[in-house]
Symmetry: C2
Subunit: 327 residues, 2 copies
């Protein structure tokens, strides 16, 4: 027998949810943020059922993890190494099983243990479709990454593999794969893990900060690859008004990734892999790629209207159809 | 001919929305909050179509105003007099008319001009039902109001009329009224205005702060009457573990409010009127009710398990059916 949130009623539901929040968040709707005299970064992400998550392929704990992880990734790729708080807004159909809600929060708390912060408040109301709105707050850091901070002559660095999450999604949905090449059980595992439990690049950001050459300024452009590798580089070029030239042979793929070129699109446009994509002064980029095993210089920036090229100067078509389009 | 947001496409939609944000919020998902070395208050509110707003009775500008106003009210009733920022999360069906989105933001900006702050970021995605998630941030103040701050022997103060918004909703929906008593055109106007353009008690909070007697501490309990007068007092009693005794003759009603007792329920349980409900040391309460024309002492607190009584000691039944139950 399941207990729906309609059975529980609103007042009891809110009481139960408050058990997942920090101690003092008991009686008020509004929460306090102790700023420790630092400026803050704030980010809101919406996850809508059937658009951003699907219960047939992700359980509530995975969804809870993922909505914290995606939000944390946005703060990280802006330069925040200290995550402070999360406000959680939930829209739930009255027929929702309470167990689902409980497991959602449990998944969030597991991610929060990993990346820091605490749930400090939120709102909960009914609606036809499940929707999760999370607003995360982090501390600002000396390394304030902006998409618009790139300069011609930078190196472009990626901190890890691309395409895994897209493959994981395809496997979970039993989609047709780009080719009939056999894929290893290890790759299958890593891909499904990457899709269900994406891991924001906190360690990678810390490495970036710790390896800055003393004589180099803190100027750095950054974003995460949540919308796909090419889209994240397009964003940097657009905001910084420069071009990018990418080295085809330097793209980061899982060692078991099929060699068949049909698989390249998922590496370039797959999205949801949450690596840091950085445009850095050359010395800083070189130091980072030496110090951080997973990181690699994948290209450079140059003057010119926002465009992306391969190193053979073939232009990369920013094919809108491959991007995440929600409308 | 209408232009839907599907016609516009996601990238252009986000560009258009960013025009309503503060100047620098152009290229990044994450926004900065300058804390001026003060601690902050944060609040998230969700508004779901057909549950919190209905397009047949409110236009987009009204809805925009209202979702800022309700959020501001939560910050005000926690003691914040300086509103800093809003993050706006929008879920919109692809068929949504762009004009509706534009007017929604225009309505928000009108309210923001009135109460302070700026839109600093957010998220936008598609979904079957319109949903607005707003996270507001304000500065913390010496007068930090909590529901749980009441002590036995306080006076309970309300800063204005109750029931108007509920009447406005009934009129807009052509509901049957509590009696056939004639209601004045002035009352009709005020009720519809109260429902469509609720006005948070910022002036009233400032009066509360400015009139604190020097020898009285900053301890004060407060909430807004957004869920109804009785529900707000129930919340204070519950969180402060005390009882409230209310004076029937002191309840604040619009001068044109019908005398027929059938109309009392809307005063007590109507909700969405956004007055401050305070439990204060007696001297502070007396000073406020003298200084602020709209404010009145409507009862007092005493020791005992959380309950509410009339001054003839008849217990007020906290009828859950009268409260806002979303599930």
């Amino acid at each position: 027998m399941t207990t729906t949130i309609k059975d529980i009623g609103e007042i009891e539901l809110l009481n139960r949810i408050k058990k997942f929040m920090r101690d003092k968040q008991i009686d008020d709707d509004v929460a306090e943020i102790k700023t420790r005299k630092k400026n803050l970064l704030i980010n809101t992400d919406l996850l809508v059922e059937k658009i951003h998550f699907c219960e047939s392929i992700s359980d509530a704990k995975d969804i809870g993890w993922k909505c914290i992880a995606t939000n944390v990734s946005d703060l990280i790729c802006s330069g925040s190494v200290k995550i402070i708080s999360f406000s959680v807004g939930l829209v739930l159909p009255p027929s929702t099983d309470w167990k689902w809600v409980e497991e959602l929060y449990e998944g969030m708390l597991v991610a929060i243990q990993e990346f820091g912060g605490e749930i400090i408040g939120g709102d909960c109301t009914s609606g036809e479709t499940k929707m999760i709105s999370i607003t995360a707050v982090g501390e600002m850091n000396k390394a304030r990454l902006h998409r618009g901070n790139a300069l011609p002559g930078d190196y472009i660095v990626s901190t890890g593999y691309h395409g895994l999450s897209r493959l994981g999604l395809a496997l979970l949905r039993s989609e047709e794969l780009p080719s009939t090449d056999k894929i290893s059980p290890e790759l299958i595992n890593r891909a499904i893990q990457a899709h269900k439990r994406p891991y924001p690049a906190l360690k990678e950001l810390k490495a970036l900060i710790s390896c800055k050459p003393i004589l180099t300024s803190w100027r750095a452009a950054g974003t995460d690859s949540s919308d796909g590798l090419i889209e994240s580089i397009r964003g940097i070029c657009q905001s910084s008004n420069c071009q990018a030239v990418l080295s085809k042979s330097s793209l980061l793929k899982d060692p078991h990734w099929p060699k068949n070129p049909n698989w390249n699109d998922w590496v370039l446009y797959g999205g949801e892999d949450y690596e840091l994509i950085l445009s850095l002064p050359k010395k800083w980029a070189e130091k980072l790629s030496k110090q951080l095993k997973s990181a690699r210089i994948i290209g450079f920036t140059r003057k010119g209207k926002p465009k992306i090229f391969w190193d053979n100067l073939e232009e990369i078509n920013i094919d809108q159809a491959s991007l995440f389009q929600h409308f």
